[in-house]
């Protein structure tokens, strides 16, 4: 059994109410209540629906996590919570809950950065983080390329999407193809039977920003291509479209990530976020990392999507490194800056 502080982590930045418990770097519980089904008919996350669901799920999810971990509330040494970035109304539910637990239990409170937490979670699976490392975080809410020196002190943004997040592009293309929400898993499945070179979809480039992403042009050109087929009365080769679209996304993501590793002379790449579950992203990243002599780390899919374990993992690192706790007036910040000095 590992030693170290016992940390309760709370995550409510989007549509998952996540509560995780870690002791040191040992994961004891990772409970998630998702409102994704309530958003499906809207084709995307509705902030007010997510916020309402967080309020209902908060106490039951904390209770479940404590039971799973086999610990009592009184044993918790510190509370960590996502302070941002994310949906404001959703963040506020988690932050208020974390403050109340910290106040009631008289334990320190740590407001953490959601993206840094996506990076930190890998410590519970693969041990201490290599420093520095490059991190590619891709989900329905974010697409970011980060340089991570010390995750407890912040992360440096090298680039981000200038329009749609990668996961959002999957959702929108899935809608064009009639594959449902969220779009990532069905596109991954459909693409398995398709030819990834069948259609040459564009790879978006952002001028003067080599590490930024743009997916809105890709999404539009997929829609245009499909509409041309429909208008001509021809069947739409769903598998080929899915495979070619997916290839365009993961080609850009992995190429930029490897380029960043080379430019910053970093030997470790860590991929996180819900899109990290995509099988083609994992395969192509591995292939390109091997070629470039870069070690690839990807947490298991359950830890890649939003969860409380990642918040607890980062909180644990912050406690161990002696980072000052937050005060009870900690604000939720929907656009939290990535680098904290």
């Amino acid at each position: 059994m590992s030693t170290g502080p016992l940390i309760l982590g709370i995550e409510t930045s989007c549509d998952e109410t996540g509560v995780g418990i870690v002791r040191g770097s040992e994961l004891l519980a990772d409970e998630v209540a998702s409102s994704v089904e309530q958003h499906a008919r809207f084709g995307g996350v509705v902030p007010e629906v997510a916020s309402r669901a967080h309020l209902e799920a908060m106490v039951p999810t904390v209770q479940r996590a404590l039971r799973t971990a086999g610990v009592t509330m009184r044993e918790i040494d510190a509370i960590a919570v996502t302070a941002g970035p994310g949906l404001m109304g959703a963040l506020l539910v988690g932050v208020a809950a974390a403050k109340a637990y910290a106040l009631a239990l008289d334990k320190p409170l740590y407001g953490v950065n959601h993206l840094a937490a996506h990076v930190a979670v890998d410590t519970v699976e693969h041990g201490a983080l290599p420093a520095p490392c490059i991190s590619l975080l891709v989900s329905g809410g974010h697409s970011s390329l980060l340089l991570v020196e010390d995750v407890t002190r912040g992360v440096q943004h090298l680039g981000a999407t200038v329009d749609d997040a990668a996961g959002e592009a999957f959702d929108k293309v899935a809608r064009v193809l009639g594959l449902g929400f969220p779009g990532g898993p069905p596109i991954d499945r459909a693409a398995a039977d398709g030819n990834k070179s069948a259609i040459a979809f564009p790879r978006g480039v952002v001028r003067d920003a080599p590490y930024n992403f743009t997916f809105s042009g890709l999404k539009t050109s997929v829609a245009r291509w499909v509409e041309a087929r429909e208008r001509a009365g021809e069947p739409v080769p769903v598998a080929d479209v899915a495979a070619s679209f997916q290839e365009a996304v993961v080609d850009v993501l992995t190429a930029r990530a490897i380029a960043a590793c080379k430019e910053y002379d970093v030997r470790d790449l860590l991929i996180g976020g819900g899109v990290a579950a995509n099988s083609r992203l994992r395969a192509l990243a591995q292939e390109r990392c091997d070629k470039a002599g870069v070690r690839l780390r990807v947490p298991r899919p359950k830890l890649c999507t939003d969860n409380g374990a990642m918040v607890a993992a980062l909180g644990s690192l912050m406690v161990s490194c002696g980072v000052e706790p937050s005060t009870l007036d900690l604000p939720a910040d929907s656009s939290l800056a990535l680098v904290r000095v």
Partner: protein, 221 residues
């Protein structure tokens, strides 16, 4: 008995601590956009002012709305998690009931619901709620008043649409639900050890969201 009461259903965050012999400490901060930052420090301050610690609390009372959702949820999730951590009951009360408390005689309470609507409820001479809580345009409330004679009117919503409520306005009244009044409403139930109602926010409106229509074509026709 040591009862912590708070309401976050309006631009104010009101907090009070109540013992067996009345209010021990209270606070009010008004900032419609910072409920999440203000509530926990206010609770800590009120406890410290009474030389108490969270573990001393025996019950919690919280305003359940109606009110702007984001602030309202800060109060409700705080009540739910404090109650969970301390193992004490948390009693929700309709925030309009708190505003009506202490006003003798039939009274109608209306608060600002934005979008040209008010949240409102009406109370008879005995203080029992006889209408609402509802969210409506002011003319709907005026119709109710015309059908029910003898009701005084109070609240920010009534002041905001004063033209709709010309005759029976009570001009002097607390603008925000006082946590001390909330504490007094809950005290009998808390002392009797009654089971609280579930901590359900009173939203009165569905989330603004419509399922998307048929897929829009991106190619110009």
């Amino acid at each position: 008995m040591l009862l912590l009461a708070f309401d976050t259903s309006t631009p104010a965050v009101t907090v009070a601590l109540c013992g067996d012999h009345g209010v021990l400490a209270q606070s009010m901060d008004v900032d419609a956009r910072r409920h999440g930052e203000l509530l926990a420090p206010a609770i800590a301050r009120v406890l410290a002012a009474a030389d108490a610690v969270p573990g001393d609390l025996t019950a919690i009372a919280v305003g359940a709305g109606p009110g702007p959702y984001t602030g309202l949820r800060v109060g409700l999730v705080t009540a739910a998690t404090l109650a969970d951590a301390l193992g004490v009951p948390a009693y929700p009360v309709c925030s309009l009931d708190i505003l009506a408390a202490g006003h003798a005689g039939p009274v109608l309470v209306a608060t600002d619901a934005r979008r040209h609507e008010v949240y409102w409820a009406a109370y008879d001479a005995a203080g029992l709620r006889v209408a609402g809580p509802s969210v409506d345009r002011p003319p709907v409330v005026r119709e109710w008043l015309e059908a029910h004679a003898g009701y005084a009117v109070l609240g920010d919503g009534a002041l905001l649409y004063a033209d709709e409520f010309p005759d029976n306005m009570i001009p002097e009244h607390p603008r925000y639900p006082a946590a001390s009044a909330l504490a007094h409403l809950v005290l009998p139930d808390a002392v009797a050890g009654l089971d609280p109602e579930p901590l359900t926010p009173i939203y009165l409106r569905r989330p603004d969201a419509t399922p998307p229509g048929p897929r829009k074509q991106v190619t110009p026709a």
